[in-house]
Each structure stands twice: as structure tokens, then as C-alpha cells.
């Protein structure tokens, strides 16, 4: 019972009930309309038949007066299934015809009877007494008076239209009953099916909520809307799992990589207190402590920002940005540093603005990180170190490449350089948080682009690849 109630409480059940109601109303209306149309047609046919009779009787009367009329009427009245004929005198006494009695008042009117009346056929009252005919007949008729004050009634039994109406009514009741039963069955089975699938999805989501984050919603082979919904929910769960994994990685990395500098910080403070240090030693220890703390803060902010960017794209943060202007800015920002490091910094750009839907600050920061790296690593290399910025459109992409002729990165390590805190062994001595390229990669992902690494023979080429049209950006 409870199960049935649950099914009745489903959307499918409510919808089928609504459909059933609407359909029943329409069907009823249709049946009633058809019935009345057919009944009207039958009535008008009856009327035509009576008119025809009257014309025949009229001709007989014209030919031989009352006697002929009576003869013709008698003859016709005796035929099987005959119409109604009756001749009465002015007092309503029946003189001739096949009508035995009439509903009172009919003979007082002249012309068509307004509504069906009841009558008894000649000889039928006996039969009724014997119980063979159970009901009175209904008929319509035309009544007119002869100049000799006799009353003539010509009519026709309405049994057929009445029968038709009854058949239609019965059909309507049966149809509605079958329809209701059908709707109830459909409703029961569809509702139960929907309920079962939703129950499975609910059960799966309860398991996931209970902590089984690897669980996914079941997908049948039907590919219907339930599957699409489950599929989307699964994708959502995948995304949540990925974000979760990212978060876990960040906290692991923070724990692991901030511990080292924090320990160093602590040891330095301890060392400064040990022995009998001079004021200058204190000062130096404190200054180094501040410098180290600043580096820690910087690292921390970078981690926060990467996590923020990886959380997803936000249209609020983007405007139309000129990549060319960003290249100019970064070139100008790094030119003195490059010069000091003995690195030649050049930039080649196409004519005019290179518009792109994005965030100027983020792209600027990502590019600075890459250029910073390039200058840092190429400055050590022997012959004429140089860093080149190349901005170009290629197909439906915009490529911003930073080439250097430094030591480069072995192909095997190229995927690793964007991982958080990864610094290739030989570069451990270089200052930096190890987050520069991770941040650049996060910025590119945020913009729906990617970071590509290639060999510059010698050196490294890092390409920031942006989709030229914002439509191709994934949300």
C-alpha cells in the first residue's frame, strides 16, 4: 500500500492523471457532439420521410376525397414497420389508422409536434397486458385538419435515433472505463520504473555522501534523460573529485615544502640566540629572517592563487585584452634585469593589437614568470645569451612563445616542470619558489589555453597558447 502511495506521489503519476483528465474531457465532448449531430440528422431524415408521406396522402385526398384518403391510409398502415397514420374526428375520437392511443393534447396542435410524444400502436395494449412489450414508443408527427373538420396525423416512430443515442452513451461509458484502467496501468508501470531508477540514483548518492567519493551514479544503456542527468552528475562528481585531489595535493605540498624553510627560519633564530652574539649578528639574523619570511609569504600567496585559478573560469575576471600591450609591458619590465644579467631580450609582435578575452594581470604575471625563468637560466649559458618573445597568430590560436638559449629542459622532465614545487635538480641553487611555471600553467588553464614546451636547439621554448575565440574556451 505504501508502495502504491509512493508511486501515486511521483511526477509521472501526476502527469498521467492530468493527461487522463484532459483526454476524458475531450473524449466526452467529442462523443456528445457527434451524438447530437447524428441525432439531429436522423430527426431531419424522419421529417423528410413524413413530408413525403403527407404529399402522397395529399395526392390521394385530391383525387378522391376522404374515402380514398382513408383507404390509402389503411393500406399503408398495415404494412410492416409502417409509419403512424391516424384519422380522428373533431372530438379526438380515433376513426382510422394504426394508432390506438396518444399522449393527450397532441391532437390540439396543428403542424409539427414540438417534441417527441408517446403513443400506443393499434393492438399493442393487448400485447402489453400480456407482458410482451414493456415500454411506450415515442414518435414525432405532423397534425393537420381537413376542411371537413377531421384531424389527420402522420408520424414516425423515433425508436432508431433513441436507440442510437443509447448506444453512444454506453460506448462513452465503456471507453472512459477502459481509458481510466489503461491510464492507471501505464501510470503504475511508468511510475514504478521511474521510481526504481530514482531510488537507485538516490541510493548511489547516499553512498557517495556517506564518504565513498569514488562511487558514481548508475547509467543504463537507454541513454534517456535519466542517463543524461546521471552522466552530468557524474561529471560534476569527477570535477569535485579533481578539485578535492588538487586541494589535497596543495596541502601535502604546503606541509612538505613549507616545513623546510620554516625549520630553517627557526634554526636561524635559535642559532642567533646561542653563544654570545653581538648586536650586528642579531641584526643580520633578523634581516635574513625577514627575507626568508617574505619568501614564505610569496610562496603562500602563489599557492593560494594557483588553487583559486584551478577552481575555474570566471567571466567576471575577463575583458578584451591586448596581448601585444602585455608583451610590451613585460619586455619593458624585464629589459633592465636582462641587461644586468648580460641577456639580450627582444620581442617580435604582429602589427596592431592582438585582442583576446582574458585577464591582463594574470597573463602578465604568467608571462613574467616565464621570462624570469628564461633570463635566470640562460644568463649562465656561455655564448651570447638571449631571450626572445614571439607573439603570433596561428589558425584559431594565439601563440606567445618565450625562447631562450640556456641549458633547456630534457624532454623527459618537461611534463614535470609545471608541477608544484618541482625544480629540476641543477636549478636548486637558483632563487625562486618553484611555483612560477605552475602558476603560468594554471593561468593558461584558466583561459582555456595550454602551456607547451619545446626544444629551442639549444635552450627551451615555452609557448602560451590561447584560443583566439572565447567560444572555444571551456567553462
Amino acid at each position: 500500500m505504501a508502495r502504491l502511495l509512493a508511486i501515486l506521489n511521483t511526477t509521472a503519476a501526476r502527469l498521467s492523471a492530468l493527461y487522463l483528465l484532459l483526454f476524458a474531457v475531450c473524449a466526452t465532448f467529442l462523443v456528445i457532439y457527434m451524438t447530437s449531430l447524428s441525432a439531429n440528422m436522423l430527426v431531419s431524415q424522419t421529417r423528410d420521410a413524413i413530408n413525403e408521406e403527407v404529399r402522397g396522402l395529399d395526392r390521394a385526398y385530391q383525387r378522391g376525397g376522404l374515402p380514398v384518403l382513408v383507404r390509402v391510409m389503411e393500406a399503408r398502415a398495415r404494412q410492416p414497420g409502417a409509419n403512424l397514420y391516424m384519422l380522428a374526428d373533431i372530438n379526438g375520437r380515433i376513426l382510422s389508422g394504426n394508432v390506438e392511443s396518444l399522449q393527450p393534447g397532441i391532437l390540439d396542435i396543428t403542424g409539427w409536434t414540438e417534441r417527441p410524444f408517446t403513443y400506443t400502436r393499434y393492438g399493442e395494449s393487448e400485447q402489453r397486458l400480456n407482458g410482451r412489450v414493456e415500454e411506450k414508443h415515442e414518435a414525432m408527427a405532423v397534425v393537420f385538419r381537413l376542411p371537413s373538420q377531421f384531424i389527420v396525423l402522420v408520424g414516425r416512430d423515433l425508436g432508431e435515433p433513441e436507440k442510437f443515442r443509447r448506444v453512444m452513451q454506453r460506448a462513452l461509458v465503456v471507453t472512459l472505463a477502459i481509458m481510466s484502467l489503461g491510464a492507471f496501468l501505464i501510470w503504475y508501470f511508468v511510475g514504478r520504473r521511474a521510481l526504481k531508477r530514482i531510488d537507485r540514483v538516490s541510493a548511489a548518492s547516499r553512498r557517495i555522501m556517506a564518504g565513498d567519493l569514488t562511487g558514481r551514479l548508475p547509467i543504463s544503456s537507454a541513454g534517456d534523460e535519466f542517463d543524461r542527468l546521471s552522466d552530468n552528475l557524474n561529471k560534476m562528481l569527477d570535477r569535485i573529485a579533481a578539485l578535492n585531489e588538487g586541494l589535497r595535493q596543495v596541502s601535502d605540498n604546503i606541509a612538505h615544502d613549507l616545513k623546510t624553510p620554516l625549520t630553517r627560519l627557526r634554526n636561524r633564530a635559535e642559532a642567533a640566540l646561542a653563544g654570545k652574539p653581538k648586536t650586528d649578528d642579531y641584526r643580520e639574523a633578523l634581516e635574513r629572517t625577514i627575507a626568508e619570511s617574505d619568501q614564505l609569504i610569496r610562496t603562500f600567496n602563489a599557492i593560494l592563487m594557483i588553487s583559486r585559478l584551478e577552481a575555474g573560469y570566471s567571466a567576471e575576471l575577463t575583458t578584451a585584452v591586448d596581448l601585444r600591450a602585455i608583451v610590451d609591458d613585460v619586455e619593458e619590465l624585464y629589459e633592465p634585469l636582462a641587461e644586468e644579467e648580460g641577456v639580450t631580450l627582444t620581442a617580435s609582435k604582429p602589427e596592431g593589437a592582438v585582442e583576446f578575452q582574458g585577464n591582463r594581470e594574470l597573463v602578465g604575471q604568467a608571462l613574467s614568470n616565464i621570462v624570469d625563468n628564461a633570463i635566470k637560466y640562460s644568463s649562465g649559458s656561455g655564448d651570447a645569451p638571449r631571450v626572445e618573445l614571439v607573439l603570433e597568430r596561428s589558425g584559431d590560436e594565439i601563440r606567445l612563445t618565450v625562447r631562450d638559449n640556456g641549458p633547456g629542459v630534457p624532454e623527459a622532465d618537461r611534463d614535470r616542470v609545471t608541477e608544484r614545487f618541482v625544480r629540476l635538480e641543477e636549478s636548486r641553487t637558483q632563487p625562486g619558489s618553484g611555483l612560477g611555471l605552475s602558476l603560468a600553467k594554471a593561468v593558461m588553464t584558466f583561459h582555456g589555453g595550454r602551456l607547451e614546451f619545446a626544444d629551442n636547439n639549444p635552450g627551451l621554448a615555452v609557448a602560451m597558447v590561447f584560443p583566439a575565440s572565447p567560444a572555444s574556451r571551456k567553462s
Binding site: S314, D329, L333, N359, S368, P431, G436
Partner: protein, 223 residues
């Protein structure tokens, strides 16, 4: 300078109070949004430092309501939230500067001192002077002891910013924000190289150094 610090973390607030006192300023502390707003609305402060997330009332709404009431006292927003869009929302709410936690006190101090001075009249001056160094904002010329110094456009803006805030510490981040209009932590020593170039141009051949490095904080242009 009288500073109002609206910050719910007791330790952080006490630290700020002491640190500001050491730097020669007085700081009042409010520990929740309501009392912070009441203090800000009644007292006369030179700068507000407002934490974004406060008990009872969030920091941004305090600033918005103060601004709606015609209060123009500069406000610096402190936030533990991430970067990028938070700064934009903060500034849009009526804040004048934005700093993300964790921050270095030297950075906060430099920004607060610059904020206080911002309400002064320096903006409308067309010629800045520090000792015998002179910068004309209209004709875009720089002279020292009457001798013209040729600067690149960016160097000019750098010097202009330093001179507007002469006698105050400006940090590398502040320079990147105000001279280059990028809001990120500059890597290693990019800004330092620009400063040393500028220093070379305005100090070479003159006895007196004007552009000083403040260790652990940034730079200061002073007599």
C-alpha cells in the same frame, strides 16, 4: 597618525597596535564589525584598516556604509581570501587599497602611510621638489641642480611616484602596482634593477644620494 584597526584576531590586532606604536602612530582596535563601524563613524581617524571577515558584520559593508555617509577617510582592506577578483570587489566597495594575508608589516605600514598622505594636496601640485631634484609633471622634465636629466617614460613615472611619496617607504609591490599597473608580487629583483638605473641617472655626478634602500621594506626618496 591615528589609525583604526578593525580586526577580530586578538593576537594580530595587538601586534598591529604595538607595531604601529613603534612606528610612531596610534592605533585603536575594534574586534567586531558593529563596534568597528561605531568607532569609525564617531572618531576622527586618518586611516582605517579593515579586515574583510569580521564577526557580526563584514568589512566591506562597513566601508560601503561609511562612504554612503560621506566619510572619505582612506581605508585599507585586509583579507585572507585569495587574489584576483577579491581586490576588485574590495576596491569597488569603497576601499582605497587592498592587502592579502599573510602580509609583511613593512608592506602594511608603507601602504598606510601612503594612504594617509594621499588625502593631502600633493595630487594637484605640478612640480615636485626633493632637495635640488625637480620634476615638472606638465612639461615632463626632470632637473637636478638646474641640469636636465633625460628619463625614459617609465623611469619618469617611477620617479614621479617616488617624489609624490617622498619621505615615505614605498615597497616593490607598490611600485609594480602604481607604475606598471600590475598587481602581483614582483619576482626577485626586477624592480630593484629599474631603481638602480633610475638612481644612476639622478645621482651620478652629484654628491648627495636621494634614493635610499630601506632594508626589508623597499625604497625611499628623501633629502
Amino acid at each position: 597618525m591615528k589609525i583604526l584597526v578593525i580586526e577580530d584576531d586578538r593576537e594580530a590586532a595587538d601586534y598591529l597596535k604595538n607595531a604601529f606604536a613603534e612606528a610612531g602612530h596610534t592605533a585603536d582596535i575594534a574586534r567586531d564589525g558593529d563596534s568597528g563601524f561605531a568607532l569609525a563613524d564617531s572618531g576622527s581617524y586618518d586611516v582605517y584598516i579593515v579586515d574583510r571577515m569580521l564577526p557580526r558584520r563584514d568589512g566591506l559593508s562597513i566601508i560601503t556604509e561609511l562612504r554612503e555617509g560621506g566619510n572619505k577617510t582612506p581605508a585599507l582592506i585586509l583579507s585572507a581570501l585569495g587574489e584576483v577578483d577579491d581586490r576588485v570587489t574590495g576596491l569597488r566597495a569603497g576601499g582605497d587599497d587592498y592587502l592579502t594575508k599573510p602580509y609583511a608589516f613593512s608592506e602594511l605600514l608603507a601602504r598606510v602611510e601612503v594612504l594617509e598622505r594621499r588625502s593631502g594636496a600633493k595630487e594637484v601640485e605640478t612640480v615636485y621638489r626633493v632637495a635640488d631634484l625637480e620634476l615638472d609633471r606638465l612639461s615632463h622634465t626632470v632637473r637636478r641642480a638646474g641640469r636636465e636629466i633625460v628619463l625614459q617614460p617609465r623611469e619618469f613615472r617611477l620617479l614621479e611616484y617616488m617624489m609624490r611619496h617622498a619621505g615615505q617607504v614605498v615597497t616593490r609591490t607598490m611600485l609594480l602596482e602604481n607604475v606598471w599597473d600590475y598587481h602581483f608580487d614582483p619576482q626577485t629583483n626586477v624592480i630593484d634593477v629599474h631603481i638602480s638605473r633610475l638612481r644612476g641617472k639622478i645621482e651620478k655626478g652629484f654628491d648627495k644620494p636621494l634614493l635610499h634602500t630601506v632594508r626589508g621594506a623597499g625604497y625611499m626618496l628623501k633629502d
